[in-house]
C-alpha cells in the first residue's frame, strides 16, 4: 500500500483525514499512483493534474523521502521507501503568504 499525504484543501474535498493509503499495481510511478488515487477519489480529478494533459498543476509539488520529485519523469518508479510504505508520497501546495 502506498501512503499519500494531500494538502488540507484536497483532504476536505475528498472527505478524508490525514494520510490515505492506495493499492497500486507495480511498477508504481507518479502516473500510476495518481491514476489510482483519482480512481478512488474521482473528485480529485483535475485538481492535482490537468484533466487533458495530466501535467502537474503549476502550484503543486511532489515530495518523498526528503526529495523533490516534481520534475522526475511521471513514469519513473517511486523511491523504495515509498513502495514499502515506510515514507509517504506528499502532494504539497506552493506556499503563499500575506
Amino acid at each position: 500500500m502506498i501512503r499519500v499525504v494531500l494538502p488540507a484543501n484536497l483532504c476536505t474535498l475528498a472527505r478524508v483525514e490525514g494520510e490515505v493509503t492506495i493499492a497500486v499495481a507495480s511498477p508504481v510511478s507518479q502516473r500510476t499512483l495518481l491514476d489510482a488515487l483519482e480512481a478512488r477519489y474521482p473528485m480529485l480529478e483535475g485538481t492535482i493534474r490537468d484533466h487533458g494533459t495530466k501535467k502537474r498543476r503549476a502550484f503543486l509539488r511532489y515530495f518523498a523521502c526528503e526529495r523533490d520529485l516534481s520534475i522526475e519523469p511521471p513514469d519513473a518508479e517511486l523511491p523504495p521507501a515509498v513502495l514499502e510504505g515506510k515514507e509517504p508520497f506528499m502532494v504539497v501546495g506552493a506556499i503563499a503568504g500575506g
Binding site: P7, N9, T12, M43, T47, H51, G52, L60
Partner: protein
C-alpha cells in the same frame, strides 16, 4: 409566509443567509468550501434546493459543487471543461495571439425549464452546457467559433464570460457578455451567435465603434420585457429595447458612469439599480460614500440611495455579479462588497441594513425567494 435565501460567493468560501419574508433577522451558515474562491452560486428556478457552486483555486483548479437540499450538503460533480476541437487563439494583452486556456467558471445559469440543465460561463471566455446536473459539460462552441473570437482580449480581471441571461419568453434566445469582447445573442439555443454591440463606444479600443472589444461588465433584464436590456459597461450605462440590436446611453446624471453591477426591480421593469465606482485606477466608491443609484424611469434620471449605508471613509468595490433582487411583494435588493459586507434593502432600496459585515471579499450574490 415566503422566505428568502441569499447565496454569497467570496474569496474564501460560500455563505448562505436565510430569513423570513420580513427580512429583519438572518441566519448565516458557512463558510462552505472554506479557503476556496467561490465565484458564483445559483439555484434552479424550478427546484430551489438544487444549487450549483463554482469552487476554484489557483492551486487546485476548478471544482463544481451541487446541492440537492438547499445548501446543507454538497457533492462534487463534473469539473472537466474541454474546449470543442482545436481551441485556437484569442488576443493577449499585448495584441499577440494567445491559446485559449480554461481557468475557472465565473457564472452558472440554471435552465428555466429543466433543473438538470445548467449553463456555465467560463474564463477563457466560452459557454458550456450540462444536461445531467453538472456531471458532464459540453461547449456551445458556436460562440467562440462565430468569427470574432480571435479578436477578443482579456480585461484586467481575465477574459471571462460573466453574464448569462435566459429569455423567459423564448427558450431559444440567450444573451451573454464577455470582458472584453462585448455582448452576444443566440436565437437558436446556442448553436449560432451574433455580436450585439451597436451603439457602444469604448475609447480604450483602437476603433471605438468596433463590433467587438467592448468591456461589458454586466447586463440585466426584467422577465416581462426581455427585449429591454440594461448594461453597465466599463464606462457608460446603456439600454437596448430591441434585444441588443442597438444600444443608447442612459448614464444621465450619475456621478460617474463606471461601475460593475446593474440589476432591475423584480416588479417594475423600468426601475434600475447601479452602484457608481471611481475609476480608472481606484475602483472604489466616490468620495468615501457608498450609494446605490436608482432610476425609476429606465435610466438618465438617477437618485442616490444612502440610508443605512456608510457615508464616510468607505472605500469598497462591488463586483459585477454581486447584486441581486428578490421577488417578494416589496422587492428586496442585495449587494456584497469587497470589504466583506452584505447589504440588504427590504424596501426596494429606500433603506439598507448590513446583514453580514465581516465576510471575505464578496464575489457574487444571488437571492432565492422561497415559498
Amino acid at each position: 409566509m415566503s422566505r428568502v435565501r441569499v447565496l454569497a460567493g467570496t474569496r474564501k468560501g460560500a455563505f448562505i443567509l436565510e430569513s423570513d419574508g420580513k427580512r429583519n433577522t438572518w441566519k448565516i451558515s458557512g463558510p462552505h468550501f472554506a479557503g476556496w474562491e467561490i465565484y458564483h452560486l445559483k439555484g434552479s428556478p424550478l427546484d430551489p434546493n438544487r444549487i450549483y457552486a463554482s469552487q476554484s483555486s489557483s492551486w487546485f483548479g476548478q471544482v463544481v459543487q451541487r446541492s440537492s437540499d438547499g445548501g446543507k450538503t454538497w457533492e462534487a460533480v463534473g469539473n472537466k471543461f474541454a474546449y470543442d476541437g482545436v481551441p485556437g487563439t484569442h488576443q493577449w494583452y499585448d495584441g499577440t495571439p494567445h491559446p485559449w486556456e480554461f481557468k475557472r467558471v465565473w457564472h452558472f445559469e440554471p435552465s428555466l425549464t429543466d433543473p438538470d440543465t445548467v449553463y456555465a460561463g467560463v474564463e477563457d471566455a466560452a459557454m458550456f452546457k450540462s444536461t445531467d446536473g453538472g456531471q458532464t459539460w459540453a461547449e456551445l462552441s458556436g460562440l467562440r467559433g462565430h468569427g470574432t473570437g480571435p479578436h477578443w482580449a482579456p480585461g484586467a480581471g481575465g477574459m471571462c464570460l460573466h453574464t448569462i441571461l435566459l429569455d423567459p419568453k423564448d427558450p431559444k434566445r440567450m444573451f451573454i457578455a464577455i470582458s472584453a469582447a462585448g455582448a452576444f445573442r443566440t436565437d437558436d439555443g446556442g448553436a449560432t451567435w451574433k455580436p450585439i454591440n451597436q451603439g457602444l463606444r469604448s475609447q480604450h479600443i483602437p476603433d471605438p465603434t468596433a463590433e467587438v472589444g467592448h468591456c461589458v461588465h454586466r447586463i440585466a433584464l426584467h422577465k416581462s420585457k426581455p427585449k429591454t436590456l440594461f448594461m453597465q459597461k466599463h464606462w457608460d450605462v446603456m439600454r437596448t429595447d430591441d434585444a441588443g440590436d442597438s444600444w443608447r446611453e442612459i448614464s444621465g446624471d450619475l456621478p460617474t458612469d463606471f461601475g460593475f453591477v446593474i440589476d432591475v426591480h423584480a416588479h417594475e421593469p423600468e426601475t434600475v439599480y447601479v452602484i457608481p465606482i471611481k475609476s480608472d485606477s481606484e475602483h472604489y466608491v466616490p468620495d468615501g460614500k457608498l450609494r446605490v443609484y436608482r432610476s425609476k424611469v429606465g435610466g438618465n434620471e438617477w437618485e442616490p440611495l444612502a440610508k443605512g449605508l456608510p457615508q464616510e471613509n468607505c472605500y469598497v468595490n462591488i463586483l459585477r455579479d454581486a447584486m441581486a433582487v428578490d421577488t417578494l411583494d416589496q422587492c428586496g435588493v442585495y449587494f456584497g462588497t469587497t470589504g466583506g459586507q452584505l447589504y440588504a434593502s427590504a424596501d426596494a432600496g429606500d433603506s439598507w441594513t448590513a446583514i453580514a459585515r465581516d465576510l471575505p471579499a464578496v464575489l457574487s450574490v444571488e437571492v432565492q425567494t422561497l415559498p
